[in-house]
Each structure stands twice: as C-alpha cells, then as structure tokens.
C-alpha cells in the first residue's frame, strides 16, 4: 500500500503545469499523469529541495532545464528522510539559546580577552612599524616643537619614568597644537599636544599623563584596539548576511559602542597602572589627580557610553581610591622649576 499525493508537474520548458498524482517507494517516485500515462524517477536521479518548513517539497529531475515536481504537503519529504523540518525543530531552540548567550559573551568578554592575549604575541618590530604608519596617516603634517632646553627637559622627564628593564624605546614629541591631550601609539611613540603643557598645573602632572600613555604602550593597548576592531568588523559582517541598509547602520552603531566600551576599559587599566610607574619613579601621584581635575573642565559632556574615555568624575574617584590604597612614599619633583618652564615653552623658538 502506498500513499499518494497531489502534485504539480513542470516540464521545465514552459511555466504551464500538469496536475499529477505521486506515490513513492524505496526505489523512487512514480508519477501518474491525468491521461493515465506515467513516469518513474529513480531516487538517485532527482534532487530534493525544501526551502520552507511548511512546504512545498520540490523534486528536480535531469540537467538544465530540469523537470520539476512540486508537492505542497511537506509530509511528502519524510519519505526521503531528508526533511528539513524534523531536524530543525530540535536544532533551532538549542542554537537560539546558545546564540543568546554566546553573542553578548563574545562582544563583552570574548573579543577583548582574545585581543589582549593576541596582542602579547605581536613582535615589537611590527608594533613599531604599525605605530609609525598610524602616526603618519593620522598626523601627517604635525609641527614638532624642539627648542633645545625644552627637549632636554622632556628627555629628563621621560627617562625618569621609564623603568630600567623596559623593552620599549620611547619617542615622545610635543606637537604645536592647542589640543589639551596626549596620545600613545603602538611601539613607543607618544605625542603630547602643546595645549596640555599649557593647562598642566605642574611637571609632575605631565608626568602623570605620560605615565598613563606609557602604560598604553607597555600594555599594547593600541595593538589590542586594532585587533578588537578587526574582530568586531568580522563578527558583524557575519551577522549582516543580506540585510538591508537600515539594519547595517544599526549594527554599525552597536559596533561603535562596543569599541568605545573596549577603549574605556583600556583607559581605566592605563590609569591604574600609571600609578605604579609614578610610584617607582617617586613622582607625586596627587599631581595626576590635579591634572585630571584640570582636564575635567575641558572634557566633553558626552555621556560615558558615548565616549572613548571613562567619565571624568568617575575616573577621578577611581583614581583617588587607588592612590589611597597605594603605600605612602616620599616624592621628589620630576623637573626643576626652570626645566618645567623650558618644557612649557618648548614650542617658542627663541632667536
């Protein structure tokens, strides 16, 4: 006894169809046309396709253009043990659950951890090349300040901060710009903008900022950031198979927010570790606090999640707690008043 199904038969040559009755056995399917004639398709000779769970099931026979048999009842597919619906019914909820867990985990924990780990294995020489490349791309026409007295003061400041066993050779430049900021690049290049020197309450405060930037270099944050970006782009590219432009914009938003979050975490880490450098160099860490207070008035009023840097007030509070935890030590000013003056005037060329 074999069950029969109603089906549409297309000959592949015109879009007209013929209504047929189909039955199947272990060897293949038997097709009965309305005029009584029939065909037999061997199991090995046709391809089974089912795009939707609710059907139809499609059998294609022969080379292009194939003859096609369309059976609306998805149950027909069960005969061939290839039905999509059965497998999917179990598979999907498990996968769904996994994804709900895995996707946020990947974004919040997986990517930054993996990047942090991978960044350790990037050779120093590659980091240096990368840093040079980025610096030239981002600040191609920067004006570097280099009065002699200023440079000497800067060197003094840098050499006292750098630990003796450092594998990095730091190249610190002061750029003639009103920006109140400093920026570190992979491999040991650091740019300090003139605005920061002018707004800074003391040389020790500049040392605080420099220690922070140096920790970015030591901890390979730049490289880590780059790896984060690559990984996130890849992840979102995978998600956006064939979606429309609106969704893509949205995903770009999530991506940017995730990246900013990573950056903030790196900033917080650099803050904490900078204190250790200051401790080793016996520089007053309270001055770093003073610097941040000065920066606070310059920082943007963006909410924390939209900013690359942690919220200043929160950052100050964290820093205060950390300083309180550190053992007290006797600090020495990092520069003499004259050297500090020279550093602040590093961009003023004296004739």
């Amino acid at each position: 006894m074999s069950k029969t199904w109603q089906a549409q038969y297309f000959d592949g040559r015109t879009p007209t169809h013929q209504s047929v009755t189909v039955s199947s056995d272990t060897r293949g399917v038997r097709i009965k046309f309305e005029d009584g004639s029939g065909r037999f398709w061997h199991k090995a000779d046709f391809r089974l396709q089912q795009d939707l769970q609710q059907g139809p099931v499609r059998l294609e026979y022969g080379e292009f253009p194939p003859e096609t048999l369309v059976v609306d009842d998805p149950e027909f597919g069960l005969n061939f043990g290839k039905s999509l619906s059965n497998g999917n019914r179990l598979f999907t909820p498990i996968l769904a659950l996994l994804t709900i867990i895995i996707f946020p985990t990947l974004i919040y924990w997986g990517i930054p951890s993996a990047s942090g780990l991978l960044a350790r294995f990037v050779p120093l020489s590659i980091e240096q090349q990368l840093g040079k490349y980025v610096i030239e791309e981002v600040f191609p026409s920067r004006i570097v300040c280099k009065t002699n007295a200023g440079k000497q003061a800067l060197e003094k400041l840098v050499s006292r901060l750098v630990p003796l066993d450092s594998e990095y050779v730091f190249q610190v430049e002061v750029v003639d710009s009103d920006l109140v900021n400093a920026i570190a690049f992979p491999g040991g290049n650091i740019l300090i903008f003139r605005g920061l020197l002018e707004k800074s309450p003391s040389a020790d405060a500049v040392a605080g900022v420099l220690a922070h930037e140096m920790q970015h270099v030591f901890q390979r944050h730049g490289t880590e950031n780059l790896l984060n970006q690559v990984a996130l782009s890849g992840l979102f590219k995978l998600l956006t198979v064939e979606v429309n432009a609106i969704a893509e914009t949205l995903f770009a938003g999530v991506r940017t927010l995730s990246l900013l979050k990573y950056t903030r975490e790196l900033e917080t880490e650099a803050d904490a570790l900078a204190l250790q450098l200051l401790l080793q160099a016996k520089v007053d860490s309270a001055e770093m606090l003073a610097m941040f207070q000065a920066l606070k008035s310059h920082s943007s009023s963006l909410s924390e999640s939209l900013s690359a840097h942690p919220d200043m007030s929160a950052r100050l509070k964290r820093l205060e707690t950390l300083i309180a935890q550190n053992p007290a030590y006797l600090s020495e000013p990092i520069l003499s008043p004259q050297s500090w003056k020279a550093l602040q005037n590093i961009c003023q060329i004296v004739n």
Partner: protein, 356 residues
C-alpha cells in the same frame, strides 16, 4: 509579446536541442511519454490580478539566521556563501505570486568561488596601487594614478552590478522557468558614464532622464523565459517627480527624500510590463518610512534577536505593495538557455554593497 531579435535564433536552436534530447531519452521514448499538450481541462491562459505575497515566518527565519550565524562563527566566516545561499533560498521560496513560489538555485559553492575571485582581484589591485604609489614622487603622476584608480574602481562597481544581476537572474525561477539578465557590461558602462557626464554638465538636470534610461535598460534586458520585460516610463515624467521631490526635500531638510524615493520606485514599477501584464505598485513614502522605522525599532528593542521577525514583516509589507494585472498565456513562455554566469559579480557586490 516581443522577442529579443538576436535571441530568436538561439531560442529555436535551444528548443531543437531539447526536442532531440527528449526523443533520445529512453525514459520518455518508451511507453510512457510525457503528454505533449496540456491536459484539456488545464487552462494555460491566466487573466486577472495577482498579488505578490511573502509567507515567510519569523520563527523559521530566526532558525536559519541562528544556524548561519553559528556556523559562520565556527568556520571563521568560510560558511558565509552557504549562509547567503540558504537565506536567499528562503526569501525566494517564501515569495509567491499566483499560488506559485519563486526559487533560488544558487549554491554556496558557486558563491564561494565568486567571492574568492573577487578577493583575489581586489587584493591584487590594492597591492598594485600601493606598489605604484610607493615609487611615484611626482605630484602630477600621483594625481593621474589617483584618477586611474578611481576609474578602475568605477569599472569594478559596474562589473559587480551587472555580474550580480546576471547571476541572480540566472539562478531565479518561477514555475520552473528561469529569469535572465541580458545586459552587458560594456553597454552598462557606456550608459552610466554618459549619464553621469551629462548630469554633471547639465548641473544635475539630466539626472532624472538618466534614471529613466537606466531603468529602461535594466528592465528591458531582463527576461522571464524567452520574453523580456518592457519599460514605458518617460523621461519628462521622471523629471517632474524628481524636481518636485528635490524641492520638497530641500524645504523639509531631507525628510521628503523618502517620498521621492517611493514616488520614483512606484513610477518605475508601474511602467514595467511583461507581455500584456503590468506591474502595479502601492509603495508610498509615508507607509514606507513607517515600516522602515518599525523595522529599526524592532531590531533595536530586541537587541538584534528580533531581526528575523522584522525582516519578515518588512518583506510582507514590500511585496504586499506589488501586484500584477492583465492577461498572459503561460504556454507562450518558453525556457531559454540560461547563460550560466559565474558568481564573481555577486562576490564583488558583497564588497561594494551595490544592488541596482
């Protein structure tokens, strides 16, 4: 119903080949030949109005998304072409008209090869460009290289658009008959460069005429079986829509752009015919904007998890705005030899994000 002239000869040759094959085929030659004529009660002429519909389901599409996503992550993205093929098969299979669904025949393997070729070409070009840049110090030559690069980029986008359309159409079928796109890369480059140049020279006023021409080319080179679609839109109509839209867009700070886009698209659809069948579109800016916003909100509020449901809703809306009306004799439509275009254009299009 006009055949494309150069195609007629090919068509009859192809029909002969099929006849010969059928005669030689032992299965059909023997006692049980397939009845050649339609069963008498089967009407081959359809007359009336047919609504396009999308009957996909969020839950099922969600399953496909998840599976694709997981496999992509596990295979570090190698699975991408298969994921794309699976998704396209679902979208096409869920799109129906007159009780028959569409079918996508592309395979992951094809698309992987296409993507691979595109990557090789793009990487090679980029390396060549970087290499050339590193040895050129002359400003004038540098500018020239830039222009050359832009030109090659333009050509690549054209290859991607034409290639992707050829590929997509040749892998799409309805009731067993394939679509085709017969546009050529050369004609497209000519049409587009001429359009842009004239638009530039006319300070943009030629642009709507170009759009109309492009739509004409894109539509009339697309066939279903042996019969091409036709386009009867007029440049001056498009100009009117465009002028009004542009002025209102400026006055409304760009918000009207949605309506402008909808009005143009609706006009293009409504002037597309297939034999004696005309497409009708009820795509209006307000509704379109509304549905797009709902889509966006849905995705945001569910943190992306609801994407599948949002896609289904959006597709139901968009296909719901399209219907066909008229009269058609299905027996007159013949399968044409599919030009089995490779998927390189499709792969390239993945990089440029073009879909014309």
């Amino acid at each position: 119903m006009a055949n494309i002239p150069e195609d007629e000869k090919e068509q009859s040759e192809f029909d002969e080949v099929l006849d010969r094959e059928e005669a030689l085929n032992p299965e059909t030659k023997e006692k049980d030949p397939v009845p050649d004529v339609e069963s008498p009660d089967e009407k081959t002429t359809l007359e009336g109005k047919w609504q396009l519909e999308f009957n996909g389901q969020g839950a099922e599409l969600f399953g496909i998304f998840i599976k694709n996503f997981m496999l992509n992550v596990l295979t570090l993205g190698i699975y991408y072409p298969w994921a794309k093929a699976r998704q396209l098969r679902y979208y096409y299979g869920a799109s129906r008209i007159s009780d028959s669904d569409f079918q996508f025949h592309g395979t992951g393997k094809e698309m992987l090869i296409g993507l691979g070729k595109a990557v090789v070409v793009l990487v090679f070009l980029d390396l060549a460009y970087e290499g050339i840049l590193s040895v050129i110090f002359n400003d004038w030559l540098l500018g020239l290289t830039g222009i050359l690069y832009a030109f090659i980029f333009f050509i690549l986008i054209m290859i991607a658009s034409v290639g992707a359309r050829r590929y997509r159409m040749s892998r799409t079928s309805w009731r067993g008959i394939r679509f085709r796109f017969l546009g050529t890369f050369k004609d497209t480059v000519f049409l587009v460069s001429r359009g842009w140049l004239l638009s530039l020279l006319s300070l943009g006023f030629y642009y709507p005429f170009y759009l109309n021409r492009f739509q004409d080319y894109w539509t009339s080179k697309t066939t279903f079986g042996n019969i091409p679609f036709s386009y009867d839109g007029q440049g001056k109509d498009v100009f009117g829509i465009w002028l009004k839209g542009t002025i209102l867009a400026i006055l409304t700070l760009g918000i009207y752009l949605f309506w402008l886009k909808a009005n143009l698209q609706r006009y293009f659809w409504q002037h597309t015919t297939y034999g004696e069948v005309r497409i009708n579109s009820t795509l209006y800016g307000g509704k379109w904007l509304w549905e797009s916003l709902i889509f966006l909100l849905f995705v945001i509020l569910t943190l992306g998890i609801g994407g599948a449901w949002a896609v289904v809703r959006y597709k139901k809306f968009y296909l719901g705005t399209l219907s066909l009306a008229g009269k058609i004799d299905l027996a007159q439509i013949k399968q044409s030899e599919a030009k089995m275009t490779g998927a390189t254009g499709e792969g390239m299009a993945d990089f440029f994000d073009v879909e014309m």
